[in-house]
Symmetry: C2
Amino acid sequence: MTIKDIARLAGVSVSTVSRVLNNHPDVSQDAVKKVMAIVNKYNYIPNTSARNLGMSSSDNIGVIMRGISNPFYTKIITAIGDKIEKSGYTMVMQQISTDEDELRVAAMMEKDKRLQGLILLGGHLNYTKEQVSSIGVPFVCCTFSNEYGNLNSDQYSSVCIDDEATAFSAVEQLYKKGHKKIAVLLSAVDDGSVSQVRYAGYKRALKDFNIPEDDNLIIQIHSFNIADAYHEMSKWLDKGIDFSALFCISDNMAMGAMKALRDAKKIVPDDVAVIAIDGIEASEYTNPVLSTLCQPMEHIGIKAVDVLVDIINNEGPHQHLTLPTTLREGETLR
Amino acid sequence: MTIKDIARLAGVSVSTVSRVLNNHPDVSQDAVKKVMAIVNKYNYIPNTSARNLGMSSSDNIGVIMRGISNPFYTKIITAIGDKIEKSGYTMVMQQISTDEDELRVAAMMEKDKRLQGLILLGGHLNYTKEQVSSIGVPFVCCTFSNEYGNLNSDQYSSVCIDDEATAFSAVEQLYKKGHKKIAVLLSAVDDGSVSQVRYAGYKRALKDFNIPEDDNLIIQIHSFNIADAYHEMSKWLDKGIDFSALFCISDNMAMGAMKALRDAKKIVPDDVAVIAIDGIEASEYTNPVLSTLCQPMEHIGIKAVDVLVDIINNEGPHQHLTLPTTLREGETLR
DNA sequence: ATGAAAGCGCTAACAT
DNA sequence: ATGTTAGCGCTTTCAT
């Protein structure tokens, strides 16, 4: 079944069929009726590849998201999808795995789908100008910025929280409760990831509060996995290093760490206070409920689309939005 | 940058470029070198839409998955991806939301991507023959079968656990510990979903163990959400109905329920024993650790691909695999 | 081993 | 309002 068949069966030309299918004006009610009858009868579905090829442009906005497994993105992607729809565009989403190059995927999508713009959800923070130059539509980085990269801020947009300040604030919470021996559970600190940025916030807080840095209090894993967090935390606890509080750079890691603490017979929050960053749904259901600094996920998604659509429609300038986090008190603070 | 430009720049014809790009034999080393030089220099990326259009067939296997938010699929999808790759095929994955018709999406993908076969991850269990007839390549239902539908078993393949028997076995665990007042937390029971099938297992178990059914012990929500489970469970607990054990049809729902129990000052497992089905990663990190019947996720993914590839390559018959679950003891049983 | 040219299924001028 | 036709960027016979 192709558009040609439909045209023949309906007794009209392919262009009329195309017009009907795309709700173009200037088609008679009669034609619409005839075409739709055949379309429905044969359950005809147009070929998207052909359509994308034939079109010179589209109303597609691409969304590239890294890591299907990250529960943190769930709400954001939903918000993005809704907002794209409401803005009259069509969302084309592409999942990529951790080892894929999002900028390459972006370049592919841009051509295949004739994108008008692009939202990068998660991702590295250190693209170079050459890498970025391969993509020719406006794009906005969602939940991350380019702090350690060397892009000009007029080359891209971003919508995210201030990861450094949020980490600072997390440590501050701990400090205000009287904690001085504050361990940190983090991931890589040299790859421009949020882990690195949040670590910077941790360090600045220590400095501000006149707490000397102590390498023994740094627990590092090489992922953001709950299982890795659990195992590494367990190993670290075996060392018997003295500490009274733990700052985890993500909720997910905190959940792994809390089990390790439980295994080690450390009561949270009596023996150890715990705080994290993200505010994913699952961490509301831990026992005790995790105290964390919540990202405004829905707001982030909506704003990312807003910014992008503004750039597309009004050729507005690139923007960099920093959204505030909110503290979820939880039960792991003391 | 199109294949034409590359051809011109490399001083060869488009067909030669196409051959090089697709690793066809019968291309001179010299041609390969020339073409690749240009391709790399300009970072040329072929247009997938055009490629799909031009090709009469492909090595694409489609994977349609419902609900990005379901952590249960994470491991399965990874296994599927690996196995498809190893089998020499290419995975094209498509996310769909709960309200989209997967069979329609399947029909689209089949044409757009020239699929060889299709894997449906999650989904309803009650397709009709007409619905299925719109898709023309072999497909396998992954994690669900068609128990309440009216398909012939030679129209599709399936790889899943025996949901009914697993639910039975869950209740059996509770019964063996001496429980008679066994509440059940479930979702819809009239839509052919796993909820319905697992509910059937629950009922059969009660019957087998001579426990009368009691509507008061049925807690129903209209999703598989952790938040909905929490709220509905809380509301139910307010009623003060007497019970000593809880069977949740999914881990996720169990996590919500456990918080409700905690809020109600019910100690798990001392006051209430809890068991569920699925075995997602997060439920290993609850406090106490959830007792559950684990699905062999990786195995499910691998087998789904195996079955499909066998059908594609060898025109083998459709198969229906039932894989065993394993009990994770956890800490919520007593 | 390589090139020319005919599609693949659709959209979008351009004509009428 | 409708039809004709030339692409869109690629693959794939069919020649050579």
